[in-house]
Amino acid sequence: MSDILLEVKDLKVNFYTYAGVVKAVDGVSFSVRKGEFFSIVGETGCGKSVTARAITKLIKPPGRIVGGKVLFEGKNLLKLPEKELKKIRGKEIAYIYQDPSSALDPLYTVGYQIAETVAVHNPLIKIKNAFTKAVEILKEVAIPDPVKRSTNYPHELSGGMKQRVVIGIAMVNKPKLIIADEPTTALDVTIQAQILDLLKELKEKYNTTIMMITHNLGVVAQVSDRVMVMYAGKVVEIAPVEELFEKPLHPYTQGLLAAVPNPLKKVEEIKAIPGFVPDMINVPKGCRFRPRCKFATEKCLQQPSLIEVEKDHWVACWKYWKR
């Protein structure tokens, strides 16, 4: 299919810790279509960030990508040499990180940090000459007085402003895919909405694709086209956003939605579902949600794979298997 921009197949990432092997991402598969707003939801610690970083091989020891493929425009990124990956990061695939206060280097002006991101991907442009570009992009992300702001250091800007700068850095090279890892989590509620609007607006304007990670269902409802739900390193459900909110299939997704009568509320932990997210070293056998699931049967001791129950609506649960 040519409308697919990114295809992740059976991705596996382990962390080798003193306590044991953490299978943080264990056989995750999904694809992101050109021009869509794809969201990944799940509780803290379920492997969303690791998935996002593994896409351009940004996993550092003790973590290691132990299996799978990441096809970006048909190329397997996991097979590319580091040198090629460096050309893709920040240029074809750009990231937005969660906490803008720690994503920017405190010792360089924001203008410089935008400019160097331009220059590093364009050998013909010197950092000095990329400052006009930096000012342009600051204007684009609606920062007032961009000329002056470009000479500011990160600590001189508010959290929302800093996140605008980070978004500017992500947009400046007109990437094909933006991976936004909880772009609003660290911000005030009032600022969150502005940042989401900005992301949506820029996405339309430049016709980019966004893959956004969040644990906030309100955010998901507001911007996404399709949603993927993760649980303990596995994909449990993938569906178009309306479908997921109206007709959640996986018991975990159902619990997740039931827990949030007001989807604009922030969820840190799903209280309505009894039990805890499993310890990632000793994961339950079979379906990882089994110990907390009221529908669990013998069958659930085996891992169910994702099946397409309705058009575009995928779920990994034995309940929906017809033999």
């Binding site: 920040g90 720690s102 280097d105 405190p106």
Partner: protein, 334 residues
């Protein structure tokens, strides 16, 4: 940049009370603490009464304390730091003779520390937990633990006694001009290259001896602060932006710099206050050597002059370190 200017001005303003504090401290030690400063300055028990009386007059020691302090400051500012009863010369002249030797040695060993320890620390951090890292850390530990006098003697034994390629003592040959008092610089300025080579060969062993413990400390600090910087989120993000090579590492290194500068500044301050053991073993005519001689001869004015100089040197080095901080880190400029 305007902030930087204001920061510098503010920092210079706080510099004045610090200096006054140093002066006051030295004043108290020299004027108020001894029972009879005049006798002490004149050389102690064996001083002649008329000399003691003359000193009492000369330094206004019969006046009340605050008047004495006024004269003390006035004398210091006008370049009158007292006179040594031993060398019969003004203290300031003595210090001007001895201090450049210490300064030169301090610079040489600091350069050594920087060019050896910082690269070692960086390599160690980038090759974390490999055999290279372990070797560097072992070397650093050695640097910190080896006693200076032992190292000095071993170096002399190897390079002078056994190999005969480097001199064991002294500073070399004085250049025919003295612009700075630094032999190496002066001999270059005078175009006397043969003297430059001789003087260089003299400074090598004491510089290594002095640098060795510092190399250990700085290699460790460098390793740790580079690792610290590497583990920060903005370095992750820098990688995610596709930065690489110099553009990537400048973020790591600049952020790792602050702790390194702190320790380097401290080390430099200590070196400037004269390394007594090293200067003695290598017969290096520096301030440490001078201080030891002064103490042995109970040359009180010389001791106080040296103390004051060392205090001032520390305050100035601190100021310079703070200014470097502010240049590196914009968050400090407030």
């Amino acid at each position: 940049m305007a902030e930087l200017k204001y920061y510098l001005i503010r920092r210079l303003i706080t510099f004045v009370p610090t200096i006054l504090g140093v002066l006051l401290l030295v004043f108290v030690i020299s004027h108020a603490v001894p029972a009879d400063p005049a006798r002490l300055w004149a050389g102690g028990e064996k001083a002649k009464p008329e000399v003691v009386e003359m000193i009492r007059e000369k330094y206004h020691l019969n006046e009340p304390m605050h008047i004495q302090f006024y004269y003390y400051i006035k004398d210091l500012l006008s370049g009158n730091w007292g006179e040594s009863p031993v060398t019969k010369r003004p203290i300031l002249e003595d210090l001007a003779d001895y201090f450049p030797a210490t300064f030169e040695l301090a610079i040489a060993s600091t350069i050594l520390m920087v060019i050896v320890a910082i690269p070692l620390g960086i390599i160690s951090a980038f090759k974390r937990d490999t055999i290279i890292d372990h070797l560097v850390r072992l070397f650093a530990l050695m640097g910190i633990s080896v006693p200076v006098f032992w190292l000095a003697i071993i170096l002399q034994w190897i390079f002078y006694y056994q190999l005969g390629i480097l001199p064991a003592t002294g500073r070399g040959i004085e250049p025919s001009v003295s612009y700075t008092g630094l032999y190496l610089l002066d001999s270059l300025l005078a175009g006397e290259f043969d003297k430059f080579v001789t003087n260089l060969s003299h400074i090598i062993l004491p510089a290594i001896t002095l640098a060795f413990p510092g190399i250990g400390v700085i290699a460790r600090i460098t390793r740790n602060s580079v690792l610290d910087a590497m583990s920060s989120e903005f370095i992750d993000f820098a990688e995610a932006r596709g930065l690489h090579g110099f553009q990537f590492y400048r973020h790591v290194l600049k952020n790792a710099m602050i702790p390194i500068i702190t320790v380097l500044g401290l080390q430099f301050g200590f070196l400037l206050s004269g390394a007594v053991i090293t200067e003695t073993i290598f017969a290096w005519p520096g301030i440490g050597n001078y201080a030891v001689k002064a103490i042995n001869a109970l040359d009180y004015p010389a001791i106080m002059g040296t103390t004051l100089l060392i205090g001032l040197v520390f305050v100035i080095v601190n100021l310079v370190v703070d200014v470097i901080y502010a240049l590196i880190d914009p968050r400090i400029r407030f």
